[in-house]
């Protein structure tokens, strides 16, 4: 990471709310507000939290071959996605390594790809390269969009009186275009917390207005702003992977618990042959969930050991605020990846027993699939 940090349109709001600003994916972002990570985490589990995730990138693809381009560069089958529907997917290199994970939205006249901020430049270069010679128009709209995530069991009730669209009509991984608090918005039934909730794509210039309106409307039911720290522990409790920690170019989707989005029968997408060959030959490593069976805080990079030798590494971890125990995602050698396998995490020279568990670790969330 080099050069000056970017700011989202809500930077001043974060600072005014006591946000502890840290560099993240090239942006200066709040890791927490004055309430603290644990309180923000609990608010999302019990009421609602509001996240600024405007750092995410948004690419638009239009034209007669828009669908063909998306199908060519993503591992999931976009032909199964209807207008008004979103799909979790990934882009892979020719060797099958993951370039990024992303969400694909199908509008009547275009696709929108929502990518990780940390990968925006390389993703854009990749899309541009594969768009060459195709009948498509592509545009990087990242700077024009702000993105707010309203997450938690109370999210629906907070949104309802402000929205021109009935939140109950927006299904899981579905979206509608409407107005929220007088602002044009794409209202998407998505999130990264395991709770019911919505992500609102709006014009960057409308961000402050919507942020204030949501916080005001939600305050009586316990809505508070939540930062990256809570976002990380919330996503870990449900086992969602984070690019850069759990996902990278060195590993395929099959190695990264993303077999379920990888449709080898969805045509000749970039990376397909390599992934198919790996499936045939055997998948060498696996991303798994680990639950610690004694006290410990598993941090990225800590060795995972079995039979007296290292068999993997922690890629993300925390002490779950909801469960009070250490949880992690870890990359381990095949053979040590099945649920129930007894492993250990080496924490500063001490082996803490752990067991492979298929996420979610926290399954009580209000998410409506």
């Amino acid at each position: 990471m080099s050069g000056e940090l970017q700011m989202t349109p809500l930077h001043a709001e974060h600072v005014a709310l006591g946000g502890k600003m840290v560099p993240f994916a090239g942006f200066e972002m709040p890791v927490q507000y004055s309430t603290g990570i644990t309180a923000e985490h609990r608010a999302v589990r019990e009421a609602a939290g509001l996240f600024d995730v405007s750092h995410m990138g948004e690419f638009e693809i239009r034209g007669p071959e828009a669908e063909a381009l998306v199908q060519k560069i993503t591992v999931n089958d976009v032909t199964r996605v209807e207008v008004g529907q979103a799909q979790y997917s990934a882009m892979t290199l020719a060797d099958g390594g993951i370039i990024d994970d992303l969400i694909v939205y199908r509008f009547a006249d275009r696709f929108m790809l929502v990518v990780n901020a940390s990968n925006r430049a390389k993703d854009w270069a990749w899309v541009t390269k594969h768009a060459g010679g195709m009948e498509v128009e592509i545009a990087d709209r990242s700077d024009e969009y702000a993105l707010l995530a309203l997450q938690g069991p109370a999210a629906r009730e907070i949104l309802r009186p402000l929205s021109s669209v009935d939140p109950d009509s927006v299904g899981y991984y579905r979206f509608s275009e409407g107005r929220v608090a007088g602002v044009d918005a794409v209202i998407s039934g998505t999130g990264y917390t395991g709770e019911d909730g919505f992500e609102l794509y709006i014009a960057a210039g409308d961000a402050s207005e919507l942020w204030a309106a949501l916080l005001e409307a939600g305050a009586p039911v316990g809505l508070i702003p939540a930062g990256l720290g809570a976002r990380d522990s919330l996503r870990l409790e449900v086992g969602y992977a984070l690019y850069g920690n759990d996902l990278d170019e060195e590993h395929t989707p099959l190695e990264s618990a993303l077999g379920w989005i990888t449709r080898l029968d969805s045509g000749d997408f970039v990376g397909r042959d390599a992934i198919a060959r790996q499936k045939e030959a055997g998948v060498p490593t696996r991303l798994v969930g680990l639950r610690l069976e004694a006290r410990g805080f598993p941090r990225p990079g800590y060795p995972v050991v079995a039979e007296g030798r290292p068999v993997g590494r922690v890629t993300s971890g925390t002490v779950s605020p909801s469960l009070g125990e250490g949880i992690a995602l870890a990359r381990v050698e095949a053979g040590f990846h099945t649920a129930g396998t007894a492993l250990a995490v080496e924490i500063r020279g001490k082996e803490v027993p752990a067991v492979v568990q298929r996420p979610p670790f926290y399954a009580e969330g209000s998410i409506r699939r």
């Binding site: 502890k20 720290g229 002490v319």
Partner: protein, 129 residues
């Protein structure tokens, strides 16, 4: 701006020393500034009563969401009591660092070491307040 009580002594590693009614026995904890920098404390590993530490030796660790930090003994001495309450509620370190969030009580081995610690004014300068 963090809370820096005027009646305590401070180490450069952000531990404080507070007098007790017993001569040469001091309460050790981390400062309000330190808990603010660490963020939410998840658990604290403390020594056992009877353990002895040299000045600047690691007497425990503090796990916060963001990072793990060693706890350095600001003086040489013997642990005479540990705060069992932190086992159940480590967040006391965040909410009440100078009160319920204390860590250990130490019997000084050499009271001359106290002169190597900072008073509140010097500590405030140290943390840039």
């Amino acid at each position: 701006m963090s809370d820096i009580p005027s009646d305590l002594l401070y180490s450069a590693e952000h531990e404080y020393l507070k007098k007790t009614e017993e001569p040469d026995v001091y309460v050790v904890g981390i400062t309000d500034y330190a808990q603010g920098e660490l963020g939410d404390v998840v658990f604290v590993e403390l020594p056992s009563v009877g353990d002895s530490y040299e000045k600047m030796a690691t007497f425990g660790t503090i796990e916060a969401v963001k990072a793990v930090s060693d706890l350095y003994s600001p003086v040489s001495g013997e642990v005479v009591e540990v705060n069992e309450g932190l086992e159940d509620d480590p967040s006391l370190v965040n909410s009440d660092p100078y009160g319920e969030g204390w860590m250990i009580k130490v019997r000084l081995a050499d009271s001359a070491e106290l002169s190597g610690l900072m008073d509140a004014t010097a500590y405030a300068t140290h943390v840039g307040d």
